[in-house]
């Protein structure tokens, strides 16, 4: 008797993992009856905030329901605190001309993030940029790694201080670059977070917004966006920042909130995160929409990625 576990990781999933289990498979002797069963489980990592936008530390499984492809799910297989205990932070900074007046403020925030030794290990923080100029050379179309694993050393600090703003805004390409960077540095038990400093406007990317979002979801990263725009939060750029943050289970901030607020939120959200698992409600192949909603306290807002991809075993 041989038992096989076929686990299909969804293309978009890391936080949400539909898996397929095929068990009790007789592999020899054609006259031996073969019993097959398959169970699919969806796994969602999330946190909740209250009406004051603070994370809720004590949740129970009766506080929420999952809406998976329109179906309301209340029967969960398991509900527990997340096993992620550390952060891998990638700051992705827009240095393009459109944010030039605010770019010093954002770089100051980035330097504050890098300096928070008690919160993030030096190996767990990286700074990437797009647009702008660095040491006189135009950064332009290609996103750049300003520092990775060792951002606190003097050379890295000098590099961060030397950046200059200007040029075009390949935001969507930069998100894909950031997602790729995160995928290559992914470690178990560590939550990848992409803190995006931008006004949300793109001027020259080769890739589209959905492609950028898909890449970030596939990397399993949460986007915490810091809006560098000045025209209020009703612009298309601000809407994009909100959408990508919500879609990945992260949050949206204004540049006025400051680095400390953003990082504190990232840390508090991690501590208040839970994992819920449930049976796949529909074996419909493809993208499943996902939403967590309150069962009684409508002031609670649940933050999780808003889609996952289901592909059954053998496809």
């Amino acid at each position: 008797m041989l038992a096989h576990w076929h686990i299909r990781l969804a293309l978009l999933a890391l936080f949400t993992l539909p898996s397929v289990l095929a068990a009790e498979e007789a592999s020899d002797a054609s006259d031996v009856p073969t019993y097959r069963s398959s169970v699919s489980e969806v796994r969602v990592t999330f946190f909740a905030t209250d009406e004051s936008n603070h994370p809720v530390a004590a949740l129970t499984k009766s506080d929420f329901a999952v809406v998976d492809n329109e179906r309301v799910v209340r029967n969960f297989r398991s509900f527990m605190h997340t096993d992620e205990t550390a952060l891998d932070v990638v700051a992705l900074v827009d240095l393009s001309g459109s944010v030039a007046p605010r770019f010093r403020v954002s770089m100051s925030d980035v330097l504050q993030l890098v300096a928070r030794e008690q919160s993030i290990l030096d190996d767990n923080i990286a700074v990437l940029s797009f647009g702008g100029t660095s040491g006189g050379a135009v950064g332009g179309l290609h996103p750049a790694i300003l520092c990775s694993s060792g951002c606190r050393d003097s050379d890295s600090m000098s590099r961060l201080l030397a950046v200059k703003s200007g040029g075009t805004t390949p935001l969507f390409d930069a998100l894909i670059f950031g997602a790729d960077f995160i995928s290559h540095h992914r470690r178990a038990g560590v939550r990848p977070v992409l803190i995006l400093f931008s006004d949300g406007d793109d001027t020259i990317s080769m890739h589209s917004p959905p492609e950028a979002l898909e890449a970030v979801l596939a990397a399993g990263a949460l986007i915490y966006s810091v809006d560098m725009g000045t025209s209020g939060n009703r612009t298309s750029g601000s809407r994009f920042l909100r959408q990508v943050s919500e879609a990945t289970g992260g949050r949206y901030f204004s540049l006025r909130d400051g680095a400390a607020t953003v990082l504190n939120a990232v840390l508090e959200d991690l501590r208040a995160s839970y994992v819920v698992t449930y049976d796949l409600p529909s074996h419909q192949v493809g993208s499943h929409s996902l939403r967590l909603l309150p069962t009684h306290n409508l002031n609670l807002t649940f933050h999780s990625r808003n889609t996952y991809y289901y592909e059954p075993s053998g496809h």
Partner: protein, 152 residues
């Protein structure tokens, strides 16, 4: 003006508080939820026939399938963020052609437009048909909301 407002609020609060002990609430379970078109046309005639607006933002409203003993309701919120508590059982009552859902924690009611009503037996028959379709061809998407609407 202020007095009238306070009086209205007080009366509505009393009516909600009395509704539960009087047993006028019916019970049901929300089994599906989707974002769909809003039923209420904001702006009415002027919006339809007036000059084009510079920036019209299409709003989606939550649509819930509420299953009760005998009837299945399709109810629609009036704005994108009007939520029904998704508890196992929710209390509701009819109020001026609308469906008022009791929100326990907020001690208030939230009113929803009724889009459709179907006998539960018929609804279950349709659901079984949809399930069969899904099981036959898991690779093809089935718009389950269409089946309900085709009954109109």
């Amino acid at each position: 003006m202020k007095f009238t407002l306070l009086l209205t609020l007080a009366l509505s609060g009393i009516s909600v508080a009395w509704a539960a002990p009087l047993g006028i609430y019916q019970h049901g379970t929300v089994v599906r939820m989707r974002m769909g078109d809003c039923m209420i046309a904001h702006g009415g005639f002027m919006k339809a026939f007036g000059p084009p607006q510079a920036a019209v933002v299409e709003e989606n409203c939550p649509e819930y399938t509420l299953v009760t003993d005998k009837v299945v309701f399709l109810i629609v919120g009036k704005s994108s963020n009007q939520l029904v508590p998704l508890a196992e059982v929710i209390d509701f009552r009819f109020h001026n052609k609308e469906l008022a859902v009791r929100v326990d924690d907020a001690r208030k009611e939230s009113k929803f437009a009724i889009k459709e009503m179907t006998l539960r037996s018929e609804w279950e028959h349709i659901q079984r048909h949809i399930e069969d379709q899904l099981n036959d061809s898991p690779h093809r998407g089935v718009d389950t909301s269409l089946a309900l609407r085709s009954r109109e």
